[in-house]
């Protein structure tokens, strides 16, 4: 795959997506906005990939959002031409591209503005000690709405509002992100990717089909009121009931051996 703004590699069952414009703090330009959906499509289609890791190149930033230089010059063209201006043009994350394989985001520095999409749409988020989280939208006259709405489902409301309204001068540090559950671990800078890979390896021991169905039911539950979400969850359990991994998992446990999982179907992985 020809990529100019991303590094994309696979290690065993883990796909590692590195935002790779370190000279621009890995800000999203038009090319990156079109390359990310291609990479997520590959994650979705490759049966050998169980889990994805998103991180940024360099020691300073995961991603500082849409490249403001592009916006100011009027050359910002996010997404494919046919979709431009629609919500479908924002296809940066696994969820936005309809991929339900588990995603770990390793925040390696600053993340702000549109970069918060990667945090809001992740399953697991860890960060390095130098990570900071803030939202620059209102500083430059834009609405800080889309990413924070996702964050309202992850962290206390007050923290979301402070992030969105206070702007770039008010930065959440890694310690506070850990306190309020925005991230679950803080590592030294050089230990971040190794730790993300360790977590990925643990995830890969689990049934890929069960992971996808579980992740999907939990995310979809956020669209529903509690009783409806519980009903929806039960129907997911019923649909999964005949899956061969259920027998295999029980047998492997009884026989004290590693299970041999079925691959997850493309249909189950995609929305």
């Amino acid at each position: 795959m020809e990529l100019s703004t991303l590094q994309y590699e696979k290690r065993d069952g883990a796909a590692i997506i590195t935002l790779n414009r370190p000279e621009r703090h890995n800000a999203i330009n038009g090319a990156m906005s079109r390359e990310l959906p291609r990479v997520w499509d590959d994650v979705k289609r490759d049966p050998a990939v169980v889990v994805a890791i998103v991180t940024g190149a360099g020691p300073r930033a995961l991603c500082t959002g849409m490249d403001v230089a592009d916006i100011a010059s009027g050359t910002a063209q996010v997404g494919e031409a046919a979709e431009r201006g629609s919500m479908q043009s924002i296809r940066l994350t696994a969820l936005q591209t309809g991929c339900f394989k588990p995603v770990i985001t390793a925040v390696n520095g600053m993340v702000c503005g549109g970069g918060l999409h990667f945090v809001a749409d992740s399953d697991i988020v860890i960060c390095s000690e130098n990570a900071t989280f803030f939202d620059t939208h209102v500083n430059v006259g834009l609405l800080g709405v889309y990413e924070p709405i996702g964050l309202t489902r992850r962290i206390p409301f007050e923290a979301v509002m402070r992030l969105s309204l206070a702007g770039s001068g008010d930065r959440m540090d890694a310690k506070r992100a850990l306190d309020i559950g925005l991230v679950s671990e803080v590592t030294p800078q050089d230990g971040l990717l190794p730790r993300a890979l360790e977590l990925a390896r643990e995830i890969m021991r689990n049934s890929p089909a069960a992971l996808v169905a579980t992740k999907r039911a939990i995310w979809e539950s956020l669209n529903l009121s509690l009783d409806a979400a519980l009903e929806h969850g039960w129907s997911a359990i019923e649909q999964h009931a005949g899956h061969p991994d259920i027998q295999e998992g029980a047998r492997a446990f009884a026989e004290k051996r590693a299970p041999s999982w079925q691959g997850v179907s493309l249909e189950d992985t995609s929305r």
């Binding site: 403001v68 230089a69 916006i71 100011a72 201006g85 919500m87 924002i90 939208h137 209102v138 500083n139 430059v140 006259g141 834009l142 609405l143 800080g144 709405v145 889309y146 924070p148 709405i149 996702g150 309202t152 489902r153 962290i155 206390p156 409301f157 007050e158 923290a159 979301v160 509002m161 402070r162 969105s164 309204l165 206070a166 702007g167 001068g169 008010d170 506070r176 306190d179 309020i180 995310w219 956020l222 669209n223 529903l224 009121s225």
Partner: protein, 273 residues
């Protein structure tokens, strides 16, 4: 306008509204309940005011809730249908669309929790505490409580309302669970809140107004629907609002932006093009 139970001051684009009955721990009596909607209206109508800091007078209390002495002394008021009139004390109760930073300077109890529940940003002093004695006083705890259920872990909230005066959430615990984002020494509280308000006031008033509106509105919807509505807000606003270009230009030219005046109360994204 001047008030008996409140102090309304202005610092640049920031208004500081102080609940001012320190001898009664800033509990709201009928006088304060009558004045609060007037003060919120004054704030809403003044285009110079972009952000509000809400705090309490004195060192002991932010607000002790409904003044029970008054409740004990007379029959509860009823309207023509026999229902109790709705308490309208917070910016949300009074439909004010401006961001509110709550600076909790001591005890915040019972109905006083509604100010915290309806604020956008909340900070407190080291001596602050949060408690809800309403069920022990025979009242149901609803006002403030339901929005708090969207702000803090449900266990913490149920513990607060069920244990009533036996439970007191400390400043440290409030910080841990994300009820507040900052705890400062009592003598630093007001200045810290004003600094934070000035930071908010430097941003595009329109972007702040619609951002705040859209995030609150998102709580009424499931995630996917909330995101669609958020996207509609963004496109409605970005298509035509002058602050979008001005913000980017000022950033690139490294100068202070000249923002458009704040939207009129009740405006929706796309209205002010």
């Amino acid at each position: 306008m001047s008030y008996d139970t409140l102090i309304l001051e202005r610092t640049g684009h920031v208004a500081v509204l102080t609940l001012n009955r320190p001898e009664r721990m800033n509990a709201f009596d009928s006088a304060m309940r009558a004045e609060l909607p007037l003060a919120w209206q004054e704030i809403s109508d003044d285009p110079e005011i972009r952000v509000v800091v809400l705090t309490g007078a004195g060192e002991r209390a932010f607000c002790a809730g409904m003044d029970l002495r008054e409740v004990a002394a007379r029959e509860a008021p009823r309207d023509a249908s026999g229902a109790a009139p709705r308490v309208q004390i917070t910016s949300m109760d009074c439909n004010v669309g401006k961001p509110v930073i709550c600076a909790v300077n001591g005890v915040c109890a019972g109905g006083g929790l509604a100010f915290v529940a309806d604020s956008d940003i909340c900070i407190c002093s080291e001596n602050a505490s949060f408690t809800d004695a309403r069920t022990r006083a025979g009242q149901i705890s609803i006002h403030g409580t339901l929005r708090l259920a969207r702000r803090i872990p449900i266990e913490a909230l149920l513990r607060l309302v069920l244990l009533a005066s036996a439970e007191r959430l400390t400043a440290a615990r409030a910080y841990d669970i994300g009820l507040v984002s900052q705890v400062v020494a009592p003598d630093r509280l007001r200045d810290t809140a004003i600094e934070l308000a000035l930071a908010v006031a430097r941003n595009s008033p329109s972007a702040v107004h619609y951002t705040r509106q859209a995030i609150w509105e998102s709580l009424n919807h499931g995630l996917d629907r909330a995101l669609e509505l958020g996207w509609d807000a963004i496109t409605g606003y970005s298509r035509s609002h002058p602050d979008v270009q001005e913000g980017a230009r000022a950033f690139v030219e490294k100068r202070e932006p000249h923002w458009a005046p704040p939207p009129k109360p009740g405006s929706k994204p796309g209205d002010d093009s």
